[in-house]
């Protein structure tokens, strides 16, 4: 029991949870309140189910992609193309469903999911094969595919926004018994994918190999790991999560265009890094990525809730990212020192 408690306290994510809780309490305390239109009860401007679920929904699309990005970053790589994969997967899904015409709701939804995730996976595989085959740094490869894939989406749609069948929207906006204009599906998807990501990274051979690869390519080679397969795999996972996020996002908002998710790659990488992933490789977690995405969205939300000037949003987020990473590095160094004292 004490060992368990110690593991909780010393774990990488505890600090992030603490910051999130503090920020939530502060926001709830400072947000003020308003009377409910129907019942007249006092409602906190931040601490109410609508705002909270809205914040989580905003975070879910980043968070899901950030889990994929974390997998790439743990391997020592980087994926700048996730925003473009999102756009291409979204518009391909919308175009395919439009050309397939009316079907039953269930088959429409499944076809949409298959197309979005499939396109995401293929784009990820393309990134991986280019990185491995051309021996070019992933920053360059994914910078290239970032423009290429968005360009393909642009040409395919002739820059138009394509409507997504309402059957998909009905699924992603299913109230699941909550009612009152609350849509928990993206949030639940985020939680489920975080669990899957965490299990993938910590309990599977593939996850273990990704950590080893990112920690030392040389030692992994000497241990007989299939290096190319690992490297292609991480970009495939990243593309897969972007495709799934595109399915959720395009269905949720009811349409898709080649301009979707512009600039998401940076939010996604920021989430992963705030969540403790190290750009050198060998370190990171799925839970951290989700918490990082939540933190960034919460900071953005706090500007609205506290009625601060929205023009300062980027400045605040930029500062927050640097501060978060610096704090993370300090705590890592402290832990390392404590460990080295404990062993000597």
């Amino acid at each position: 029991m004490r060992a368990f408690a110690r593991r909780i306290v010393s774990s990488q994510e505890t600090g992030l949870v603490l910051v999130l809780v503090l920020l939530t309490i502060t926001l709830a305390a400072l947000a003020g309140s308003h009377p409910d239109r129907e019942t007249g009860a006092t409602i906190n401007n931040f601490w109410n189910s609508h705002t909270l679920i809205q914040t989580a929904t905003d975070a879910s699309f980043f968070a899901i992609m950030a889990i994929g990005a974390t997998v790439v970053i743990i391997s020592g790589g980087i994926d700048l193309s996730v925003g473009s994969i999102y756009a291409l997967a979204g518009v391909t899904m919308a175009l395919v469903l439009r050309s397939l015409g009316p079907m039953s709701d269930a088959s429409t939804t499944l076809a949409g999911l298959a197309v979005a995730v499939g396109v995401g996976l293929l784009c990820g595989l393309l990134n991986g094969v280019l990185v491995v085959g051309l021996r070019v740094h992933p920053f360059i490869v994914t910078l290239g595919t970032m423009w290429m894939l968005r360009g393909v989406a642009f040409v395919a749609t002739k820059a138009e926004s394509i409507l997504v069948p309402s059957a998909l929207t009905a699924v992603t906006k299913a109230p699941l018994g909550l009612g009152g204009g609350l849509y928990p599906v993206p949030m639940i998807s985020m939680v489920v994918l975080t669990v899957i990501g965490a299990v993938y990274l910590s309990r599977t051979v593939m996850g273990r190999h990704i950590f080893a690869f990112g920690g030392s390519i040389e030692a992994s080679r000497f241990s007989g790991l299939a290096l190319n397969r690992i490297q292609i795999g991480v970009y495939a996972v990243s593309g897969l999560t972007a495709g799934f996020a595109a399915f959720l996002g395009a269905s949720f908002y009811g349409s898709s265009s080649s301009g979707d998710a512009q600039g998401y790659e940076l939010y996604v990488i920021a989430s992963a890094v705030v969540g403790g992933a190290s750009l050198i490789g060998g370190k990171g977690s799925a839970l951290g990525a989700t918490l990082g995405a939540l933190l960034i969205v919460l900071i953005r939300q706090s500007i609205r809730t506290l009625h601060l000037d929205q023009n300062y949003e980027w400045i605040v987020i930029g500062c927050a990212i640097i501060v978060a990473v610096v704090i993370d590095q300090w705590s890592t160094r402290l832990t390392a020192r404590r460990l080295s004292r404990a062993t000597t």
Binding site: R203, T204, V205, M206, R208, H209, F211, A212, G215, S216, E218, A219, S220, R221, F222, S223, G224, L225, A226, G282, K283, A336, L339, S340, T343
Partner: protein
């Protein structure tokens, strides 16, 4: 400097002005190794002084202390009679001490001129004055290699030319003492001749040369005085005229074999497990053939750069083979990467533990199970309890504290790190285990345990190939010893035939 570490030392005597360098009670520790202990010696001004010893005897370390790369943990250092404390190579250079490194230390992407002037680029209003820089570089090179184009990038030069540039950097900045750290290890015969000529000219100009090498012919043709180091201690310093090669070799070895542990009974040899036939990789090794039998320990001896690790790498699929073939249990094996080698039952404990052997950011448990994870998993799902149980058994057997299972390996001692690498390969239960410098940087206790383990593995039928720079280690462990020189197999000795002196002669190419 740690003044507390000083022992009582006499004040500099008057005749100290005669010596260019004086080491007084110099000691240096590295984690797990005492590289130098209480070394006292004098280098006469204007002489060429050889530092000899086996690999790991401390000769390079001594040179690096003189040139400011390492700081001694104890003792005093005098240059031209004045006590000095070098914190960096820059300090040493300012005091007139330069070094020509074994591993070259240049920015490959910059030009010769830029490298030569890097410490003090001539500039006007913050911009580099290119003409002035090139003029200075040409002046520095004038005497050494006037034909060299100073605008060429250093990366394009041959190793020999790069060494000349290093020498120019040292001489050009006014160094009166130059340390050469095994300068011929990567030179062709012809290039080496040019280097010797240059050293001759430097001597004529009164420059003091300290020549670190274990190649006897060079020592005798170049040097006036020779100092032999062994296990970090000063053995003797003599004029080369009053000593023979055999004397030096004897002093370099000089260690009673009795301190080593007797190993397994070599009579229990089984069938042939691995056969290498005419392995060739241009520029690394050529025409290397040998066989390993079950239960046999074969040593692989050679000087640094003789191609020992490369041959091992070839067996393990890490080195590209131009020709030649490998047979495992009589069947020709296709080994393109380490994964293939592992499937053929081959394991390799690599030379560079921290870079090749371990993922430092991971725990001891995860490192140990890395090559064998499939055994503890189904459909990629890891059964962690099984993994932990199997690893605990190995750690108990190797006497690694199991409390370190979940510690990052970066924090473990050298000996324990090496045991983790060994555990990793024991888990794979290889039929052929290659050990490249298995006890380097490991303390005496762990070393004995590793030796015992090698004997035990052989007894249980593993075929073992051991690479070691420590000849006594090879002699006690091996049933037979293969000797490599410059990438070629030059000898195959049985345990009865092998002696340290004989091996050293074969390795160095003495007749």
């Amino acid at each position: 400097m740690e003044h507390t570490a000083h022992r009582e030392a006499p004040e500099p005597r008057d005749d100290m002005t005669e010596s260019a360098v004086r080491f007084e009670g110099i000691s240096k520790f590295f984690p797990g190794v005492q590289a130098l202990s209480d070394v006292t010696l004098e280098v006469a001004s204007g002489s060429c002084h050889a530092l000899c010893g086996e690999n790991g005897a401390g000769k390079s370390t001594l040179g690096k202390i003189l040139s400011g790369i390492y700081m001694p943990d104890g003792g005093r250092l005098f240059v031209h009679g004045r006590e000095v404390h070098f914190d960096s190579p820059r300090d040493a250079l300012a005091a007139g001490v330069g070094m020509v490194h074994q591993e070259l230390a240049f920015c490959d992407n910059l030009s010769v001129a830029e490298n030569l002037c890097l410490g003090a680029l001539p500039s006007r209003r913050g911009l580099v004055v290119r003409d002035e820089m090139e003029r200075r570089a040409r002046t520095m090179l004038a005497e050494i290699d006037p034909a060299l184009d100073v605008r060429r990038r250093v990366g394009e030069l041959t190793i020999a030319q790069q060494q000349l540039v290093q020498i120019a950097a040292a001489v050009g900045s006014g160094a009166r003492i130059i340390v050469f750290d095994e300068p011929t290890s990567s030179l062709s015969h012809h290039e080496a001749e040019r280097l010797f000529e240059l050293i001759g000219r430097l001597k004529q100009r009164g420059v003091t040369c300290i020549y670190v090498s274990h190649r006897m012919p060079e020592v005798f043709s170049l040097c006036d005085t020779v100092t032999v180091l062994r296990d970090g201690r000063h053995v003797d310093t003599r004029p080369t005229a009053q000593i023979t090669e055999a004397d030096i070799v004897r002093m370099m070895i000089g260690r009673p074999l009795a301190e080593y542990f007797p190993t397994h009974d070599s009579s229990a040899r089984g069938e042939e497990v691995l056969r290498a036939e005419r392995l060739t990789s241009a520029g690394r090794f050529e025409d290397v053939s040998f066989a390993l039998r079950a239960g046999e320990v074969v040593g692989l001896a050679g000087l640094q750069g003789a191609g020992r690790s490369e041959v091992a790498g070839a067996l393990f699929g890490l080195e590209h083979l131009e020709s030649g073939s490998i047979y495992v249990r009589g069947v020709r094996a296709r080994i393109d990467d380490a994964g293939d080698a592992i499937r053929y039952g081959i394991g390799l404990v690599p030379e560079d533990r921290k870079r090749q052997g371990l993922v430092l950011s991971e725990t001891a448990l995860h490192n140990t199970s890395l090559p064998t994870l499939r055994r503890f998993s189904r459909l990629s799902w890891i059964f962690r309890a099984e993994e932990r149980r199997a690893t605990t058994v190995l750690f108990d057997r190797l006497r690694v504290r199991t409390s370190s299972l979940d510690a990052p390996v970066a924090g473990l001692s050298g000996g324990n790190q090496q045991k983790v690498v060994l555990a990793k390969w024991l888990a794979a239960r290889p039929s052929v285990l290659i050990l490249d410098e298995p006890t380097r940087g490991v303390d005496v206790g762990a070393k004995a345990e590793i030796h015992a383990l090698i004997g035990e593995l052989a007894k249980n039928g593993t075929a073992i190939l051991v690479i070691s720079s420590e000849l006594p280690e090879l002699l006690t462990l091996s049933d037979g010893i293969l000797v490599l020189r410059e990438g070629r197999l030059v000898g195959e000795l049985s345990r009865a035939e092998a002696s340290q002196e004989g091996l050293l002669r074969l390795m160095a190419g003495l007749t």
